[in-house]
Assembly symmetry: C2
Homo-oligomer: 258 residues x 2
Amino acid sequence: MYNQTVSNSTSKNVVKMRCVSCKEEYQDSDAGTCKECYEEASETEEELKREIDELKSKVSFLSSWSPFDDHHHHLSSSSSSSSFFSDVLLVATDDESPPVPANKAVLVSRSPVFKAMLETEMEESRSGTIKISDVSYNVLRSFIHYLYTAEVPLTEPMACDLLVLAERYQVKHLKSYCEKFMTSKVNGENAIVSFAFANQHNAKHLLEASLSVVMDNMDKLTKQDDYKDLVEKDPRLVVGIYEAYLAKQVNTAAASSK
Amino acid sequence: MYNQTVSNSTSKNVVKMRCVSCKEEYQDSDAGTCKECYEEASETEEELKREIDELKSKVSFLSSWSPFDDHHHHLSSSSSSSSFFSDVLLVATDDESPPVPANKAVLVSRSPVFKAMLETEMEESRSGTIKISDVSYNVLRSFIHYLYTAEVPLTEPMACDLLVLAERYQVKHLKSYCEKFMTSKVNGENAIVSFAFANQHNAKHLLEASLSVVMDNMDKLTKQDDYKDLVEKDPRLVVGIYEAYLAKQVNTAAASSK
């Protein structure tokens, strides 16, 4: 039952109300919205959810086919590869893996590098084969799948490899997808390696996130092997860490003296 | 200023609070949520908006190229058509319009009818040309643009023509896009025509919406030319209107007698 209680013993008047959302009782000092605003907010939420459903259906309409869709599993069989109308092959040159079929129109539309390659009289456009070095078959497969569907399951090594490939072929959407994933995985263990990786591949958000974690663990910094490796390989970057740390200390001191 | 006022003259205790959303004062009887739920709801809204942004960016990534993108405006010039890597032509047979270039892989992925046409040894797959009758060049162009981008600007006649084409080629996503638009445009003037159209093309939502508007205007029904035409062309459908109207009257009577 809904109970209104007024205690006039103190200077504050305590009226208990019931929240229309969580159904719990609360006091006037913990009041949130009026009823009208609550109803408006609920409507807004419904509208946003409808918009999400519409956008999801658009994504599924536009990404409805890929060289790795279920019904194209057996790419080597003649019927499937003909139904896919592929006009270009991608080959990972590092292993003895089968070529990955694709459509020039898709590659050109997703990557300015493929566009330059295939629209001009380059080796790739004549031969219909694009050789990709320093990449495994699995990473190449995931890369192509992403170009067709804007989706791919990630693990940390896969995100790392795909980010490098996305940067090489200027597929911004995939690069930020991987960067977001890697940023969510930064911790005390991998912060130094992430920081160096982010610096090498111009991944700004990952750089900031990993630098922030490195600075939260300065007491352990010099004891880590990753730190020693970085001093060896890229001492300027280590200087960058110390400079950021010093600037933070100066700022904190200035703020606390105010 | 925030004022709390208690009037103990009545049995109700009136405490005025300020809504954190609209900043207006309200009484405890108009209370909506507690502060905690308000904050949660705000967070949810932020999350939904972020999800919308991500989905929009996916849609734009996946729909980044179409035969009618700005940089492919002059499809007849050799450089553009080569950069588009088209492997099939669509021709509107009703007018002397230029053929519309497209990619088999896209057509096959969006329409089961094109899939059947192009994956088997039919005339279209051999010739690389798909003839489409009963359609203008403009409608065909919009149809193809939609297959590549999931977007197209609609007018009422265009929505009508595209719905018919979408039904013919089983492009469900486009059909419901057009149906939604047409449903939003149903009014007293066009309800009978919309109802007949919806019935002919199995558009359930449009059928319900237009039948409902027809039933709201029964007093003027028999005076309309569209009604007379429909009696002439499809009297069974007119019987459907009367049956629905009768059922509604019976229901209303039953509800009010309770």
